[in-house]
Symmetry: C2
Subunit: 325 residues, 2 copies
């Protein structure tokens, strides 16, 4: 077996790629700007050129077994990106084009599924067969693993738990166009929105009132909570409670051994985790009470996206052509 | 391969069992009263005696490859029933004891998972790899199939979608002790509860007002709706809407190709299905809009429980001993 895979994480701003070995060491990595080229072929030319330099410089030519790509809206079955709102190209036959360019098998999935594969292959979920990865970043993403397999569903797009409806009435507008989604509350953006709501509705003094209200970030709320600011602490209680209630609902679906949390908000520690655990316990169906573990990601944030994408590279198959299920 | 399996459905009132062939024909079936014996060993003696007669009478001795059992709270991994509220025996090592008695491999699961296996093996889900079976009976049960496998989860108890919380505030008390569960609204019992609520809150005339309010059943509501009774029709709209909203949430989890509906309420036809489809479409995340099919069970209600249980018999393994995952 060839010893390396190439992991590529295509984000709205940067495309990060790295050479990864079977133990999850990132041998070398680099990046290009995703948005520089309006034409995907120009983007692919630059990606190929930069990745080739990296591969040659690390004497990895002919040692790359597969390429794994994590990208928004990337479909594992078809190998395509469709309707990606944050990328310059709306629809791309990603797996096919990258595979033809590099002459190496390619597999693709969305970034949260890639993160789940990364945790299972190299991180906190090693040895787990049933878990749910939740990424708490700008949005809320998820990757669901059942019987050791990522759940792609019938169409390759399963595992969008950020879009569970947690407020049926009077819920916040979500980026997806609907209202009341988990993502509208329990993402970094959601925490900032909660701050604006709390500061308008409540009257107590708060450090957060020193900031222009439209510019408050989840980091500002975290910093204020650490300093003991009551409104900031209550915002984390609110966020954690909603997340824990949603996780109790997720549990009746697949009864995971663990939830793995990743992303900026997950690093808020007990501010978020205590109310989350309490809400999970309080609202959990009795058969599952106390069962699912809460585990924080073990992957370094700088490497995690590349590692997650690379994990998919190990299962990329030669001559993979886009094929619907 | 031996040509038959024995399917056993253990319900709160009756235990139905039947000899089933590989095409899903019920060769012969019979039943005993579940509640007659407070001691499980006495129950097992009677079950063995009656099933042996049935097997001998149908010249099936030595032709039974496996026994599949569907029972409330039965755990696929451990082979046990635990905390079964509606059975005379609270905790039983079901698979082990039945297997020792009959000398035939036994596998067990809960009734809704058995129903899903039955549909996949003999019914409307043949050829489907990703679907969700929803049983709309006295309660709401579910069996989830992903990649052609029933989802048992880490502890063998996954797939309790009747206990998704669909009303976070002011929800009805559910039999599970929590409030706002799907089952408290979209079961036959839930429809009867809705009738009592609607009749109290609304003032229009209704055929249902001719009945003692505490005795109204979902069948009464159905009959009234068929006669054009507006309150009865609105109860079905309410029920279907809540069910459709919940199904949209289920879809973001596993993106099933289809939902298979089974049980008394599922036979309400368009009274239930129209508002259910409308709510699904209206609240579905755009990526999944219009994708999941709605399919009604193809199994005869009288045979379905035995067929579902029997489907598990084909995968029962010799010398199966209770073993945690």
């Amino acid at each position: 077996m060839k010893p390396y895979v190439l992991g590529i994480d295509i984000g709205g701003t940067n495309t990060v790629f790295g050479i990864v070995d079977a133990r999850g060491n990132v041998i070398a990595s680099s990046s290009i700007k995703t948005g520089k080229h309006a034409d995907f072929n120009d983007y692919l030319d630059e990606l190929y050129s930069e990745a080739s330099h990296l591969i040659e410089a690390n004497e990895a030519t002919d040692k790359i077994q597969g390429i794994g790509i994590g990208a928004p809206n990337a479909n594992y079955y078809t190998g395509e990106i469709n309707n990606a709102a944050n990328l310059p190209w709306k629809d791309v036959k990603l797996a096919q084009l990258v595979s033809e360019k590099f002459g190496i098998p390619v597999a693709v999935t969305n970034d949260a599924n890639a993160a789940a594969l990364g945790e299972m292959t190299y991180g906190a979920a090693r040895g787990l067969k049933d878990f749910i990865m939740i990424t708490l970043g700008t949005g809320v993403g998820s990757g669901i693993v059942i019987n050791g397999q990522v759940v792609y569903g019938h169409d390759g797009l399963a595992g969008e738990l950020g879009h569970l409806i947690i407020k049926r009435n009077n819920g916040r507008l979500c980026g997806c166009g609907r209202t009341g989604c988990l993502e509208a509350y329990c993402s970094a953006t959601g925490v900032a929105r909660s701050a604006r709501e709390f500061l308008e509705i409540r009257t107590e003094p708060s450090i957060l009132r020193n900031l222009p209200i439209e510019e408050i970030t989840s980091k500002d709320v975290y910093d204020a909570a650490i300093q003991g600011d009551q409104i900031a602490k209550d915002i984390f209680n609110y966020t954690g409670t909603l997340l824990g209630e949603a996780m109790a609902d997720m549990t009746v679906f697949s009864s995971p051994e663990a939830f793995i949390l990743f992303g900026g908000l997950a690093k808020s520690g007990e501010l978020l985790l205590r109310p989350m655990r309490e809400a999970m316990d309080r609202t959990m169906l009795s058969a599952f009470k106390g069962k699912p573990k809460i585990i924080l990601s073990e992957l370094k944030e700088a490497d995690a996206a590349v590692l997650g994408a690379s994990a998919l590279g190990w299962e990329a198959k030669p001559l993979q052509t886009p094929a619907a299920q």
